[in-house]
């Protein structure tokens, strides 16, 4: 068949598929209002296969490049619409919180364990080291920052009414979102470098936190510091460990691909780690909320602050230990 005859015979079919694709791309709202919806659903797969067939024919018969490109584009558009992944967002999010996240946490328990150790051992080690040799803190944190921290948590300053006004809470909320989630994302992404980036961020943040906590405790600022941290600690520390675990998964994919091609192994691990990234992000948003609007308050008695902190730790433990054990 000559090319022009071929084009003339199927022009209407191609034009119709092109029109359907325009309608589908325009979005769901336009589509529902149009009567064509049922027809598109019924006929589009067959029409798409027909166009694929025409593309093969056009290539085999060496029809012009222009025609081949048009059919290639049409087939590609059809392919993109037919094989699009569709998920209802809200029920998926709910399902993820109730079932998916805690299950992923338990499924990746080896990585969680490794990340937790890589984070908490430096905390404990540095805290102990600073108790024994107080000068050690200056090897990690510069003196200006130490002074600033001391100023922030000095009980004398608090009594003198230097608590930041509540309007500043929302500024701090924005800051915690930007800073903490950024740290989480970098801890995850750094894992691609054979896990080194994740290990670095876990250890560094652990050492830093251990040094500050130990220093402020021995300076006698116990109540102001620990009552501030206790509220959001459960969410924030756990989330950092979770991002670390996700990064270690990437690193393991690069280090030990097994029978897969290395990048394929990384891709598979990356997809497996996504529940941890989503969940960790959610936890850091929650942590930022608690840190900005609860931890900074000074009206509650210190005992209540510790209690809230303890309750949140218990709830976090119960959530990851028990949720999603049986399908609802």
């Amino acid at each position: 068949m000559k090319q022009e005859a071929f084009e003339a015979r199927y022009a209407d079919a191609w034009a119709e598929l092109e029109q359907w694709i325009v309608l589908l791309s325009a979005g769901r709202r336009k589509l529902t209002s149009s009567v064509d919806r049922g027809k598109i659903g019924r006929e589009m797969p067959a029409r798409y296969r027909q166009v694929c067939h025409h593309l093969s024919l056009a290539r085999a018969r060496r029809y012009s490049i222009g025609l081949q490109q048009r059919l290639n584009r049409l087939a590609l558009d059809g392919h993109q619409h037919l094989y699009r992944a569709r998920t209802p967002v809200f029920s998926a999010i709910l399902r993820f919180i109730i079932i998916g996240f805690p299950q992923a946490f338990r499924r990746q328990w080896r990585y969680m364990l490794a990340a937790t150790l890589l984070f908490y051992l430096p905390i404990a080690g540095m805290a102990l080291a600073v108790q024994i040799e107080p000068e050690l803190i200056y090897s990690l944190v510069d003196p200006g920052q130490v002074a600033q921290m001391e100023d922030m948590y000095d009980p004398a300053n608090r009594v003198l009414g230097r608590e930041r006004e509540s309007e500043k809470d929302v500024v701090m909320f924005g800051f915690y979102i930007m800073n903490n989630i950024g740290v989480g994302f970098r801890t995850f992404a750094g894992g691609l470098l054979f896990g080194i980036g994740s290990i670095f961020f876990l250890c560094f943040n652990g050492l830093y936190f251990g040094a500050i906590a130990s220093h402020l405790t021995s300076a006698g600022y116990t109540e102001t510091f620990w009552s501030f941290v206790s509220g959001h600690s459960a969410f924030e520390l756990t989330a950092i460990a979770i991002f670390g675990a996700a990064g270690l998964m990437l690193g393991m994919g690069a280090l030990a691909p097994g029978r897969k091609v290395r990048w394929q192994s990384i891709r598979d691990r990356a997809l497996d780690s996504m529940p941890l990234v989503y969940g960790g992000t959610g936890m850091l948003v929650a942590a930022a909320f608690v840190e900005a609007f609860w931890s900074s308050t000074t009206w509650p008695p210190v005992g209540l602050k510790y209690m809230v902190g303890a309750v949140l730790w218990i709830l976090t433990g119960l959530y990851f230990g028990l949720m999603g054990r049986s399908e609802p």
Binding site: Q3, R49, S64, I65, G66, N72, V170, I177, L192, R267
Partner: protein
Amino acid sequence: MLLDTTHNIATPEGVELRLPVAGLGARSMAWLLDALIKLAALVVASMVLPFLGDLGQGLWLIAFFVLLWLYNVVFEVLNHGATPGKKTLGLKVMNANGTPVGWSGSIIRNLIRFVDTLPGCYAFGCVAVLLSKDFQRLGDLAAGTIVVYEDKGHAGSAIGDTDAVAVKVPLTLDEQQAIVGFGERASRLNRDRAEELAGLMTPVFGEVDADRLRSHAAWLVGGERNQ
């Protein structure tokens, strides 16, 4: 095609789709445009948000976070694979199997962007783009995505109004396709270039000019107006 920058996708329907992948230059330009857009957005936010006081300051920090980490994700997933910068340069992101990029794929490629920027100036990313087969940076490789030129759309074959003149000599399929290809492009070539290209067919036809070759092309695709 011996050396080419197309990425081929085998579909379940048994046909191969061909996509032109975008190289370092186009992708850098798109990145630069996006960077300018983000900068402009931050400047606007800096001018407007102070009117909201502390709330505005908090919102500014959140806006900064969103622009830094989520700008690309949101546009790639909700805007058919293209950030404004990519759209301007005619680029789009898709999964390597030809399906539209989803949330997970886009988030992976944009979080790993952090590693691509190491140790500075996107050094890792640039090296990866230059070394990988489909011009993928590390984030693309980890997410299984590619950046391709979006097809601007073709009118199909358009040899235009010309008399069809029958070819009297036997032609191979490749020669036929070359002539038809010439016919389609002839209207976009300048006169001298068209004659120069037509001259390449002298070994086949003897002396031949561009108009005559176009007429042959019209006949080859099926014209029968004027034997």
